[in-house]
Symmetry: none
Subunit: 234 residues, 4 copies
DNA sequence: AATGAATGAGAGTTCATTCAT
DNA sequence: AATGAATGAACTCTCATTCAT
């Protein structure tokens, strides 16, 4: 007798599986590029205002001055548009945080300037950093993003410490990577309190104290370092 | 010193603090007390597992083995039951983080032990701390909670630094409150990486490095401090 | 240095995975049972009117006189509520289609009565059968459902044919299972045309012709069968 | 005899037959003709793969290698392009199903060959037939299409039966139109099970059984028919 | 003729909260 | 006190169709 089977005799079974709509990475027309760019900018503002979770697609679209559905023309998910934003931010933060002081200055001043530069950049991007900070707690994607953004800073700081160690200025007893991570964490934590949580600090006192702590922690003192010619450490 | 402001510098998001229905703070019957307690415990587990936002009232009720509606008999909002949980946590964390080492030991060892004790407690409560950390970014209620939990630690640390300064062991140049805040932030940032984000560290190396950085930062060296009789600083 | 790993040191990684809402199979209160039942009835009517695909959850809820969300209290998906409907239909169809004629009557009459009974039941359930028929084309779930409903009819018919064969009344040359399947298909196809596609037939002529074709096909003739005492074949 | 009605007995669902925009029936340029043809082919493949409902215009356009908008240049609706496909199919199916056997062979063999030919064609077009079958349930447009495709087969079969009746070979008691419709339905139902639902059959046994049932049903036996010279019945 | 960007109505689903029992 | 049924606002995502270029 006739037996029913799992697979029909036809080339392939008839099953309807909807394909995921593909997003358009780079629109071909000028109008498209304008719209896409407007969405990215609008997304940034929306995320800054509402955070990631509370940012609705409709908020972004409204902010961009486009219709609802156009978002899905260019992006599949909120995550995707955020990723776009962060590729920009990540690079900008690192380059902008390079200390502007002459290479010849003493280590203490250099640390001071590095902190000053970092805080300036962090202040500008505080709200977006807060978004990552918030999401990183639960979403692996964001945790990775956070650690990824941290990475180059850690490397630069570790290299700086190593350089000072090799020149006998900094405590050679310290693991430079760990020290860089911990001291970097100190600054990071501070920026969170200052720029995101709204704790009030006197700028100069804060930067000075921060720098003293950092410098002393690795064994650099304002006095000892003043008379030493330094080489660039980053 | 650092002052916390009532309103954050960022436009604070909507928080709905309903005041309409009145909740029952302390049930009169034994059964009522049992139910309430079951809800609080269930809420803690649920928040740890799902985070605050993703914890549904129904999850908590299910975990507590009660019905949907009973939650609203005892609590007005999710925020309220969380507050309940944290009054417990806050106290526990502070007392449990008191260093267990004899008061007579040297400052460096005391800092080490304080860090060790703090990390032990932080590890136990990591998940809940993560919940606050996450929520503090956008919700003033949680930001206040976070700063509130921080406060006693800062005070203890600041007092410790002041004590060392007055005895000439620590750098008297530093603002003790700021230093306490920044170094506390260093440790906090580290616990977040270690216990919440899952970054791997070698425990002993990490604690030693952390303590060295802390001690050096305020001018305490293992050598200089060893021969000095200390007074309890907390 | 610190290395980030996929798995954090905490008991299990922090990931939020929403649980699927569970549906309530049997409500505990009378009110609940009433509502659930109203939904099932409403769903049947809605499916009959609109088909499965075009039946919106809101249609069903409206038809049941309940709110939107209550559907999800009792059912997870449209498929689930449909399954409920069909467990009822399936049984009803088979029992109701049992020929009511005395066992003593001749084979031809018995076939006639079986067809008459089947057509009566099929007419009542035509719209729902149409729903399965429609969905069976693309959805394996429905194809299985369709074949499952067919099955008992085929078995009964095959048994009937076997019985007639063993008594020398029907052509013993035929595979009784295949014959049952094909002749059953003939009737099925006819009911689809008649009850669903709205092709017009004269009832008596149709049933008579259908029965003649069936009977002749398996070798039963009105004449030859008249004088033979039959045993029940189902 | 069976008459098809304009309006079905069931409340017919909404069909949107837009008449606003005018489509271009026959493009004047070669390029236009190529594009149009590509669309038709793409539509056929898409409908076979996804079914009518799940086939998006964008799927068809993508398959044809053209842009979204061009579809609307040539066709008003999905229904329209499907109609185009079926005008081709319908004709092909009928001519291809003409039995290839010599007119001189006996009625039984001729029925066998007719079935064999039909099954071969049905197998090739199974997927598209499934599409109609599916849509015919709810959409009058498709129901009409289905009955329209059936029509010539019914006429051919009815003519064949009439011819056999007039020559005394087939049961003259039967309404030839009804018989043709019912027996045709039997074969149709079988092809649905076999080619679309994936029920497994042994090809030769199935065809033989099918033919026996058909022949006996109208009173044609292999023996009685062998010695009679037949006239073409289609 | 062709392109692909833009629109927006519509359906599904979730869940905090209320309320009748 | 407790239950769990009911409500409905809010948000996501899809895709046929239009239209400017």
């Amino acid at each position: 007798m006739a037996r029913r089977t799992g697979s029909p005799p036809l080339p392939s079974p008839i099953v309807n599986r909807k394909q995921s709509t593909s997003s358009v990475p780079t629109p071909s027309t000028a109008r498209g590029r304008r719209t896409r760019s407007a969405l990215v900018h609008a997304a940034r503002e929306t995320f800054e205002q509402r955070g990631f979770r509370d940012a609705r697609i409709s908020d972004i679209a409204a902010q961009a001055g486009t219709s609802y559905g156009v978002f899905y023309h260019y992006f599949k998910t909120k995550e995707e548009i955020l990723g776009e934003i962060f590729t920009v931010i990540t690079g900008e933060m690192f380059t902008a945080s390079r200390p502007s002081v002459a290479a010849a200055s003493d280590p203490f001043s250099r640390i001071m300037e590095a902190n000053r530069a970092y805080l300036a950049v962090a202040r500008r991007n505080a709200r977006l950093i807060a978004v990552i900070e918030e999401m990183a707690i639960r979403e692996p994607y964001f945790r990775d993003l956070k650690l990824q953004i941290r990475e180059p800073f850690l490397r630069r700081n570790a290299a700086g410490i190593r350089s000072l160690q090799s020149r006998g200025i900094a405590d050679s007893d310290l693991d430079p990577d760990l020290a860089a991570s911990f001291l970097g964490g100190m600054v990071e934590n501070f920026t969170l309190l200052w720029f995101v949580h709204g704790v009030k600090y006197d700028e100069e006192t804060a930067i000075t104290t921060l720098t003293k702590l950092w410098a002393h922690a690795i064994g650099v003192s304002p006095l000892s370092a003043a008379d030493i010619t330094s080489t660039p450490e980053s």
